[in-house]
């Protein structure tokens, strides 16, 4: 079996714009699932609402495409009522951190055995490019026409603070590392949070001087650095530019978890 067998062939072509980063994240997820040897009939994908959340519908397993922001409590019901299922959640930055922010911290606190994959494109893609809680200060969106005046959430740091057992952040440029991190998350009992910075050329790049898809991917390559390296720089008194995004594994630990397969 190959990871491509996990796609619903009769649902292609998909709704994503050309150059959208979501496809890469779905591929990485299915490669990880395939490597782990998960069975289709034992796996459930759950998602909220947004471009990113459409991902669940392209996969052959049972899947639950829910309401905006609520994927985690739906997934909590699935997982706790049948811990033998592998439950993976696809979500977006708006879905997870704005309307679903409360569910996010509580799912991490409970440390439910879910794999949560957030496609963070720093914008509301589906509704046409409004600002989200991860839109960087100063960035342009349809609701921040003069540049966002709010600070952004760091979703991975939030997940660490709230108690998730595994947290990693990569980008859609880092395909190998992302696939490995998703696999590691899936193997870790408890809540695994994998944040992926993804490009939204249609609604983010276009407005923020990253016109070409390649510009956005290049940006992710050049404006990221391993979290450990950034920590070392700070410790040695070096200045870290504010637009550098920390990537890598943030935490891997063994707090008591809920809903682990018996």
């Amino acid at each position: 079996m190959s990871y491509q067998d996990w796609f619903r062939q009769d649902r292609l072509p998909h709704i994503y714009c050309s150059g959208c980063g979501n496809g890469t994240v779905i591929n990485c997820t299915l490669m990880a699932v395939d490597e782990l040897g998960w069975k289709e009939e034992e796996t459930v994908f759950v998602s909220g609402i947004g471009c990113s959340s459409r991902a669940s519908g392209y996969i052959v397993t049972d899947s639950l495409h829910t309401t905006h922001g609520r994927a985690l409590p739906f997934a909590t019901g699935v997982k706790l009522s049948n811990p033998d299922l592998n439950v993976v959640v696809f979500t977006g930055d708006g879905d997870l951190a704005a309307i679903g922010g409360n569910h996010f911290i509580h799912a991490c606190r409970r440390n439910i055995d879910l794999t949560v994959i957030c496609m963070n494109n720093q914008i509301y893609g589906m509704t046409g490019g409004q600002g989200s809680p991860t839109t960087p200060a100063g960035a342009l969106s349809t609701t921040t026409p003069y540049g966002s005046s709010e600070p952004a959430f760091d979703l991975s740091e939030l997940a660490v603070a709230a108690g998730a057992n595994f947290v990693a952040r990569w980008t859609s440029y880092h395909v190998k590392e992302l696939t490995r991190a998703i696999g590691a998350g899936m193997r870790t009992p408890g809540l695994s949070f994998i944040e992926t910075m993804t490009q939204c050329p249609t609604n983010y790049g276009r407005r923020n001087k990253l016109r070409q898809v390649t510009d956005q991917v290049e940006f992710m390559k050049n404006h990221t650095a391993l979290r450990q390296k950034l920590d070392r720089m700070r410790e040695s008194g070096q200045k870290v530019p504010t637009d550098i995004i920390a990537i890598g594994e943030f935490v891997r630990r063994d707090r008591p978890a809920m809903g682990v397969r018996r």
Partner: protein, 360 residues
């Protein structure tokens, strides 16, 4: 036994093994009882972070084949509305208990009311139909909770147990049967499209984890379950089917009792006001006063009204400003006289007798 405990016990007897909830007066005893009982019988109790999450969790649990339930009151019920619509659209069986209190807003947390009867019927956006039951005693709280689970599974719809503070906190002796009737969910036949309805307009249930590979979405979907949100015909057919699977079974779902069908003056009640009316009929010992007592309020059993062939007027005591009275008006030509009561107290038999005096 207390009404709320009878509800929890009825749920357990009916096979409910998942409860997701958030504390709210006057429903909290249900959650507390489930928290104590479920873990001992291999069930799951989880106190969620809010009622949006409670509703979401029981829908998720239902897709793994579990009978699942939540319990709340007005403010929490309002928060559940979006996901209730999701349960309707995805045809997810589940039971939502509303121990009603005085609203709007935080209102009267410790006082009974029936002010959410229209909200349970129409509160989520879009057109749809649901089933709502209303108990008038602790015994009925138990029995109707069991029935709610059976109806939810049979029709694949959220079923509301619309009780209130009065019955929820009432203590009465009840008979608990050794066994309760259980009508299980009809499974999807392999090879059938997951949202292809049978003759009863209800599709078989493709339980998660059984290899169906079903996609479940709140978007308008075709019989494969795939989103198809721009076809007017497909949307119309889907919504009509969701409504008709309930409305076409109105008479089968109906559950009521009738006193003095020849009467000219007929009380129509559900929930606690039924008790006051029964007292009035008993006290007066007259057979020209009829009583239609509903245990199922939605879908509204309009044919029951026609059984009162000599009726000249319908009196409808409700602990709201006349929500179900308005529904009755739609179905009869005779005058419908609402007897609203707000504030938390039940209509007293004397109050109702005085109303009769004025009318006669």
């Amino acid at each position: 036994m207390q009404g709320n405990i009878a509800c929890a016990e009825g749920a357990i007897a009916a096979g409910c093994r998942f409860f997701g909830g958030y504390p709210i007066t006057p429903s909290t005893e249900i959650a507390e009882h489930m928290a104590a009982k479920l873990p001992r019988i291999d069930g799951v109790f989880i106190q969620m972070e809010d009622e949006l999450a409670s509703m979401a969790s029981i829908i998720g649990a239902s897709w793994t084949g579990m009978r699942s339930m939540t319990a709340t009151s007005g403010p929490g019920f309002s928060l559940m509305m979006e996901n209730i619509g999701f349960a309707v659209m995805t045809e997810t069986p589940c039971v939502v208990v509303n121990i009603q209190r005085g609203g709007p807003s935080t209102g009267q947390p410790t006082m009974g009311a029936q002010g959410d009867m229209m909200q349970c019927r129409f509160g989520s956006h879009g057109d749809y139909s649901v089933i709502a039951l209303s108990p008038a005693s602790v015994q009925e709280m138990y029995e109707l909770t069991v029935k709610a689970f059976n109806l939810a599974d049979e029709f694949r719809v959220p079923v509301f147990l619309m009780s209130d503070e009065i019955v929820g906190h009432m203590r009465e002796r009840i008979d608990i049967p050794d066994q309760v009737p259980i009508i299980p969910r009809k499974p999807l036949q392999k090879g059938t499209l997951p949202f292809h309805p049978d003759a009863d307009l209800v599709p078989g249930f493709p339980q998660f984890g059984e290899g169906y590979g079903v996609h479940v979405t709140g978007l308008t979907h075709d019989e494969r379950g795939y989103p198809c949100a721009t076809s007017p015909g497909l949307h119309e057919n889907l919504v009509m089917r969701l409504v008709n699977k309930i409305e076409s079974a109105r008479d089968r779902i109906a559950d009521y009792s009738i006193t003095n069908p020849e009467a000219e003056t007929v009380f129509v009640t559900y929930g606690p006001p039924a008790r006051s009316v029964e007292q009035v009929v008993r006290d007066l010992g007259r057979d020209d006063i009829g009583h239609l007592r509903l245990r199922v309020v939605w879908p509204f059993p309009e044919s029951a009204l026609k059984l009162f062939a000599s009726a000249k007027q319908f009196l409808v005591p409700e602990m709201n400003m006349g929500q179900v009275a308005r529904e009755i008006e739609r179905h009869v030509d005779q005058p419908v006289i609402p007897i609203p009561k707000l504030g938390g107290n039940l209509h007293s038999p004397d109050e109702l007798k005085a109303r009769l005096e004025v009318l006669h």
